[in-house]
Symmetry: C2
Subunit: 188 residues, 2 copies
C-alpha cells in the first residue's frame, strides 16, 4: 500500500474511532507510519485528508447498503436484512458519528458527504417501503417518507443506546422493536 493510501486508511480508522476534533495529524502519521513531510506532500492538511477519507467511507457504505437493499426478497425482507446485518455496533456508525463533531459541522466541505449519504439512504429506503405498499405487502396506512426516517433514526439511535450501555444488545433491541412494529403492519 502506498504512503498516500496508508494515510487515507489511517484517517478513516481514526475518524471512526475518535472523530475529527480528537484526531490530530500526528495521530494519523503515526498510525500510517508516515512522516510529517509525507502527509503535507500528499494533502494540503487535515481537512483535505479527512474529506478524502469521509468520501471513501461514504461510498463504501452506499455500495454495501445498496447491495442488500437491491437484493432478492420482499420489501420487508430487504429492510430486515439491512437492519440485521452484522455491524461493529459499539464502534458506532462511521458517518453518523460525524454529525456530533463540532469541527465537522463547522466545515461545509466535511458536512457535505455526510448530508448526501443520509439523503440518499432515506430516499432509498422510502422507495422500498413504497414498493412494499404498492405490492400490497405493507399496509396502505404506512407513509414511506416518515417511516423510512424512523427506520434510519432507529438505526442511528441504536448505536447511541449500545454505546451508553456498552452493550450491543441495546442496538439489537431497538432494531427488533422497529421490525416488530413494521411486521405487525404487514398484510398477511
Amino acid at each position: 500500500m502506498s504512503t498516500r493510501e496508508r494515510l487515507i486508511e489511517s484517517t478513516r480508522t481514526l475518524l471512526w474511532e475518535r472523530g475529527y476534533v480528537a484526531t490530530s495529524p500526528k495521530n494519523i502519521q503515526h498510525l500510517a507510519e508516515a512522516g510529517q513531510g509525507s502527509m503535507y506532500h500528499h494533502f494540503s492538511g487535515k481537512e483535505e485528508l479527512a474529506r478524502v477519507a469521509i468520501d471513501r467511507t461514504a461510498e463504501e457504505m452506499r455500495a454495501s447498503v445498496d447491495a442488500v437493499l437491491s437484493g432478492p426478497g420482499s420489501a420487508l425482507e430487504r429492510i430486515s436484512a439491512y437492519l440485521r446485518r452484522e455491524r461493529e455496533v459499539l464502534k458506532g456508525c462511521p458517518i453518523g458519528r460525524l454529525t456530533q463533531d463540532p469541527d465537522v459541522m463547522a466545515t461545509p466541505m466535511l458536512v457535505a458527504p455526510v448530508e448526501e449519504t443520509f439523503t440518499w439512504l432515506r430516499s432509498r429506503l422510502a422507495a422500498i417501503v413504497a414498493e412494499g405498499v404498492v405490492a400490497g405487502e405493507l399496509s396502505a396506512a404506512i407513509d414511506p417518507v416518515i417511516t423510512s426516517a424512523a427506520i434510519v433514526a432507529t438505526l442511528q439511535g441504536g448505536y447511541v443506546l449500545a454505546r451508553a450501555d456498552d452493550d450491543p444488545a441495546a442496538f439489537q433491541q431497538a432494531i427488533e422493536g422497529i421490525l416488530a412494529l413494521l411486521g405487525a403492519l404487514s398484510v398477511r
Copy 2:
C-alpha cells in the same frame, strides 16, 4: 450567580455545543468570566467539573421527562407528548451526544451518569408501554422492552438526521414515523 455556579453552567453549555474533547478549560473560564485560579480552586480539573455538569444536566432531563410521562393521558398520549415536546433539535441531545465523545467513553466517571440516564429512560418508557398493553390500549403483540428501545433510539437517531440535514424537519419525520407505527397498533 456565584463563580462556581457560572463555571458549572458554562461547562454545561459547552458540553452541549461542542462535547468534552473539544472543550478546553480556557473556553470554560472565558464563558464563565472566571480566572484560571478560580476554576482550579473550585474543581480539581476539567474532569471533575464535567462530572458535576453532566450530573446536573442528567437530573434536569430526568425531572422534565418524568413530568410528561407521569402526567395525564393514556400511555400512547404520554409517549406522544414526550416525543413531540419542544426541543432544540439541531443542538442535539445533551446526554446522547456524549456517547460519541472518545474522552467521555474512556472515563468511567463521565460515562456513568450517561449510562444511568438511558437505563432509567428505557425502563420508564417500557413501563408505560406495558401499562398501555395491560389497559388494552395497545396491541398485546407489542413487547414493551424492545418497543421502548426503538422509541428512545428513534429520538436519538432523529437528532442525527436533523443535524446531517441541518433541518429539524428530519427529526420530526422520524418521530411521526414511529408514532404512526405505534398508533396503527393501538386498539381502537
